[in-house]
Amino acid sequence: MTKESKVIELEEVAIRFSGDSGDGMQLTGTLFSDATALVGNDFSTFPDYPSEIRAPQGTVGGVSGFQVHFGKNKINTPGDKAHVLVAMNPAAIKANAKFLMPSATIIYDSDSFTEKNFQKAKFATNDPFTELGLIDFTKIGVPITSLTKEALIDSDMDNKAVLRSKNMLALGLVSWIFNRPLEIIEEALAAKFGKNPTVLQSNIDVLHAGYNYGMNMEHETPQYLVPSGEIEKGIYRNISGNQATAWGFIAAAEKAGIELFLGSYPITPATDILHTLSERKDLGVKTFQAEDEIAGICSAIGASYAGALGITTTSGPGLALKSEAIGLAVMAELPLVVVDVQRGGPSTGLPTKTEQSDLMQSLWGRSGESPVVVLAASSPSDCFHYAYMASKIAIERMTPVILLTDGFLGNGSEPWKIPSMADMPPITKRMAVSQETYKPYRRPDNTLAREWAIPGMEGFEHRIGGLEKDENGAVSHVPENHQLMCELRAEKVARCVDFVPNLETKGCTEGDVLIVGWGGTFGHLVSATRDLNLLGKKVGLAHFNYINPLPANTADVFSKYKKIVVCELNLGQFVSYLRYMLPQFKYLQYNKIQGMPFAVEDIKENVLKILED
């Protein structure tokens, strides 16, 4: 079969699947990613969906999208703009028009181009492409709905059930366009619908119908060739940030030889961590779906008091509710990890959208002098590492740790080279050993971390609590003791710098501009840095995973550049922190607060402007 001029070779491609929130776009995107992994491409994904479960059909507000960016080389982001848009209705075209590359390909369900759907999407005319100015684009109308019906003509499913398979028609077609094998998709479908053979078969039939349609209509549909690249050898899997976070905790508990206990209340976009851990009864994980956010953290503190690794997972508004209890864990000096999968705020804000605006809340959002360790993961897969490290620090230093991820990391996914537990760093519990010398707040000179004596340990009976104590664990209102204890707690957290690796810059190790970022923006910032370096610009990137304490060499790194620009998805929280911690430097800032990740292009533009100034 010849493809002639229709084969487009690209190093990387971004596809956006888009439709009604009930159209199954998230599943379609996930299955396509799985197939993509198998052909040896790196990838990054980003789901973008409304907070309503089933928003009004056909409206722009109800559009749910899933972007997959894949390619030959390392893929750092889900892509600013898509090369290919799969749109299940006119509203999906409208919602995504501004996220398309110039001259992108738009594959749309031509059956959905009806008067009613144009009205629902608030188009003034019957020509959405002209209306949106999408002129020089390759537009491929595919009768997705009728092809689906035709493929299932012999099935005894009702019309509604038949239409639910529309997404598989689109997936089959896109799989042909991008040369993805159907086998892996079929396996995944079998795992999902195995209990319902009728549904499974109909999905597979429609999938093949879509694939065959592409093949038969090759004169109309372009085919893309994305070669596989050089990837480090190993066993890989696709993993989302929330799944990686959950598994990082299980790994840490196993390494430390203690039970993992999650106390949590469902909240978008953190809930998948609760789901993932609830599935792991086989590994002895205890999950407690609490009556509220406060009970979530309090049950975790209780579990830590009893000798488990207590963790709680939430998003911004939930972190606010947990503040008082985090203060208790600071005072009681118990191991505890609090995960905040950040979303747009304040208040309910943008529940399904990403943001980095809980940094200040994490650092200082409690009563009293209440220091905690703050970490931030920077890619879906490294959530595993930082959940593990957060647990290690909490257990070894008897302190609460806040781990910041965000909606972009939590829901996004990428291939991950699976580590071996033998290679993970050891985690040593600070169990009390001598009844004779045990005192609740006795601390070794080096780490200042108290010992852990848990109920059931004979001879170690003692009382702790939220009231200020002296070293012996007795309630103390002595002024000098309070000052001493406040300073000791602060110093204990400061000494967690022992765990913090030195900051390593990407790009130029010295030069004109240092881009500074933290957490989930790494992919976009590193891509921008790479592009700027390719343009010959002397730009470096310092990306932070350890927020408190900061890496010991931070000032050294900062001093090697003429200008520093701190880029973050808020109005300037990390930059304010840096101005407070390292006031000797002058900081520029670049902020975006739209519930969306950075666009690589925007960062580049901004840095180029700084270079000119």
């Binding site: 696709n238 609490a290 503190i301 209780g302």
Partner: protein, 336 residues
């Protein structure tokens, strides 16, 4: 059961007890220490969890593991302790403000889950530690510092809250009756599931005498009934009064008068699953009826912490994944 022999003083910590002289808490502390000594459990297996308030200072006075936590959250923290380690004997000490106002949500959910925790709820119908505001159990119209013209709200009846939350154990005791309190605490400890013991407690500073109508006077036995499972509901100074069920209501009668005989008197059944008689017993109030003490309800039901452990056990018996290395390699993986 009694492998460990203790005396009540073995449960006393060296910390000086700093409740006000004459406070009802002293007697409750004594009764709990005696009850624990009689139970024969290992001291180091006790974890006493409290929230905030006068009563919540309790853990400091016990020679066990203790955790004095934050306002209202003791139920949630105790839930975590017991779920993480079901072998521990977890007791929660709380007051009417801590458990029923700021901690009301956690309280009802603890009861609903039926986690095996013994909750001792000190009810003095007032806020003591913040110096005299009304509480969620303060009677309507009562004048306090924050209700100088009397409250305009009705109180919770703790026992009704327990029934409403599908509680499996509710008992009522009174601080001044050490022997009765001790007996009830022992029964609460033996119950599998959440045991709620409301102890009517006297705040000598801000609400002194609040329970006097029930506790004072030579005829106080006419005003109280100590219910025991399987025994007739008999009370009174001369043990000649009883409770009968008539026209859908409970009624106090004198045995031998008005045609009532011993056979008419109800037998207390704490193990009855339905709640309506338990509800009526909880509601009994002066002057028509005596106030009920003792274990009013003690029914069997699945226990959360055991069910949680059992579910894990069942899954693990059939598990395909037994360590993290296997987990990471499960499902869709590919080799490069």
């Amino acid at each position: 059961m009694s492998e460990f022999v203790y005396d009540a003083k073995d449960f006393k910590s060296s910390t000086e007890v700093r409740w006000c002289p004459g406070c009802g808490d002293h007697a409750i502390l004594n009764a709990i220490q005696r009850a624990m000594a009689s139970l024969g459990n290992k001291i180091s297996d006790y974890a006493i969890i409290s929230g905030i308030g006068c009563s919540s200072r309790f853990p400091y006075y016990m020679n066990t593991f203790g955790f004095h936590t934050i306002h209202g959250r003791a139920s949630a923290i105790a839930s975590g302790v017991k779920s993480a380690n079901p072998k521990l004997h977890v007791w929660q000490i709380t007051g009417d403000g801590d458990a029923l106002a700021i901690g009301g949500n956690h309280f009802i959910h603890l009861v609903r889950r039926n986690i095996d925790i013994n909750v001792i709820l000190f009810n003095n119908k007032i806020y003591g530690l913040t110096k005299g505001q009304y509480s969620p159990t303060t009677d309507r119209g009562f004048k306090t510092k924050s209700s100088p013209f009397g409250t305009v709200e009705d109180p919770f009846v703790p026992g009704q809250l327990v029934l409403g939350a599908r509680g499996t154990f509710f008992a009522r005791a009174i601080d001044g009756n050490l022997k009765m309190s001790q007996e009830i605490f022992v029964e609460a400890a033996g119950h599998k599931g959440t045991s709620i013991v409301e102890v009517l407690q006297n705040c000598v500073i801000f609400n002194s005498g609040i329970h006097e109508e029930i506790t004072k006077g030579d005829n106080r036995e006419d005003k109280q009934i100590y219910l025991k499972h399987g025994e007739k509901m008999i009370f009174g100074v001369n043990k000649d009064k009883g409770i009968v069920f008539e026209q859908g209501k409970l009624k106090a009668v004198t045995i031998g008068a008005d045609g009532y005989t011993l056979d008419d008197i109800l037998v207390h059944d704490a193990k009855e699953q339905t709640t309506y008689l338990h509800s009526a017993l909880i509601d009994m109030a002066l002057p028509e009826l005596p106030v009920a003490f003792g274990v009013i309800r003690a029914v069997e039901a699945p226990v959360y912490d055991q069910a949680m452990a059992e579910q894990i056990h069942q899954v693990q018996e059939k598990r395909k994944i037994s360590c993290v290395d296997e987990l990471l390699r499960s499902g869709n993986t590919w080799e490069v």
